[in-house]
Symmetry: C2
Subunit: 245 residues, 2 copies
């Protein structure tokens, strides 16, 4: 068990211009497919973007984050019940997977696969970075990649050979997020104490002043992930997904 | 890179009665916390269930699947925006995370963590099995584990020392789910051909006759994951989650 890999892992947002070979990517995907999947249905698809022009188009839908513009390969990981539904229909089976529960099953499958790809790629020396913005612009990404209905992009992985080591980031103490037997009702003081590791992390120290805020929490809630953005993208997604049940 | 582990991995549903030590579980969780997380917000919590009476109660909410009744430890992995929201509010920040977009961010974080725990535990010789039913009975599990609003169970991991090797299962060929540059529009014949590996897998051969169905797809769509169940649980979940946006 490679404890040193797991304890030291970090995301990489800058990549060398070298390509990732087809053979290497194929092996990573083959190995990752042994990850657990709901009822062994493999409710996911992956769209590989290598073409330079397409990478630019896709990166724009990820707000041109540095990891999206510089990586030689972008993998769009999709929660996909479309393929399974087609197989069912071709077998005259009454498939009913256009609903919220089935969406969550496919979402889980896709994220399990995404993380397995991440681990296997990183263990081979590649650098990776998740682009969570795949969900923000899911309708537009679906159009670009010609995804069918019931196939939704839920994550994008930027992959390439690392240029530098990536930046080490802090984590909450275990007791902030691990609960024994039942969810612990922390006091206000305990919550504030648990998050001190974030408030006091050197890499975070400049953010409040840079953003004209009093503290780090306000930077998160009012600058990085603010109400107007969350609620606007939520409405867009729910209208696009059209869950009737 | 332990290719043999990745290529041979399988889920384990039967466990020896030996416990998993606190020290080992703590180390697994510490290492897993270095997994990627959205904006480094760690939008997850884990509830550890070891107590025998509580394990029985929790297993019942997983329909007493064998993996749920026999494992010495059950980890309920939660998509948790509740803790982060409390921290924001205590810092007088305008937190707006009770919406669908934020739910998907926390869901993704929780599944990335779940898969990192799975890999690290299995690499140390433990057996694991996902219980996707965490979502089916999310409201009841939340009540049992005293989860706050905006903290939803999205997966449960049964963990223990394996009794036997688990059962090897088939996977679709890579070209079924990997698409170059854009989603490939397969013909009906191609879809049926891609799924032959499932139809013809020896472990699946008896299922249609056992279930009075013509083929494997009908077993999935009409017996294992049927319309009435999907739609009933979907409605229950959406009513409980109450997404306004």
């Amino acid at each position: 068990m490679d404890k040193i890999y797991f304890s030291g892992r970090r995301s990489v947002r800058r990549f060398l211009p070298e390509p990732v070979s087809d053979a290497m990517l194929t092996e990573i995907l083959e190995l990752a497919a042994k990850a657990p999947t709901c009822g062994n249905m493999q409710l996911y698809s992956v769209v590989v973007t290598r073409d330079e022009e397409r990478r630019k188009q896709l990166a724009a839908l990820h707000f041109n984050q540095p990891a999206s513009t510089g990586a030689p390969v972008l993998l769009t990981i999709c929660a996909d019940f479309a393929r399974f539904t087609r197989w069912c229909e071709l077998n005259h089976a009454d498939a009913a997977y256009d609903n919220f529960l089935s969406f969550t099953s496919a979402f889980a499958d896709a994220m399990i696969l995404a993380q397995q790809i991440t681990t296997i790629a990183e263990m081979q020396g590649l650098g990776t970075c998740y682009l969570g913005t795949a969900i923000y612009n899911a309708p537009e990404i679906s159009a670009l990649l010609k995804l069918p209905r019931m196939c939704m992009p839920v994550a994008c992985l930027a992959i390439g050979w690392p240029d530098g080591e990536g930046v080490a980031t802090e984590r909450l103490p275990l007791r902030a997020w691990v609960h024994e037997e039942e969810y612990r009702a922390d006091s206000d003081e305990e919550i504030l104490d648990l998050y001190k590791v974030k408030d006091e992390f050197p890499g975070n120290a400049a953010f409040p002043a840079e953003n004209g805020k009093d503290n780090l929490a306000q930077v998160f809630a009012e600058v990085r992930y603010p109400r107007a953005m969350n609620e606007e993208f939520s409405r867009k997604l729910l209208e696009w997904l059209r869950f009737e049940h």
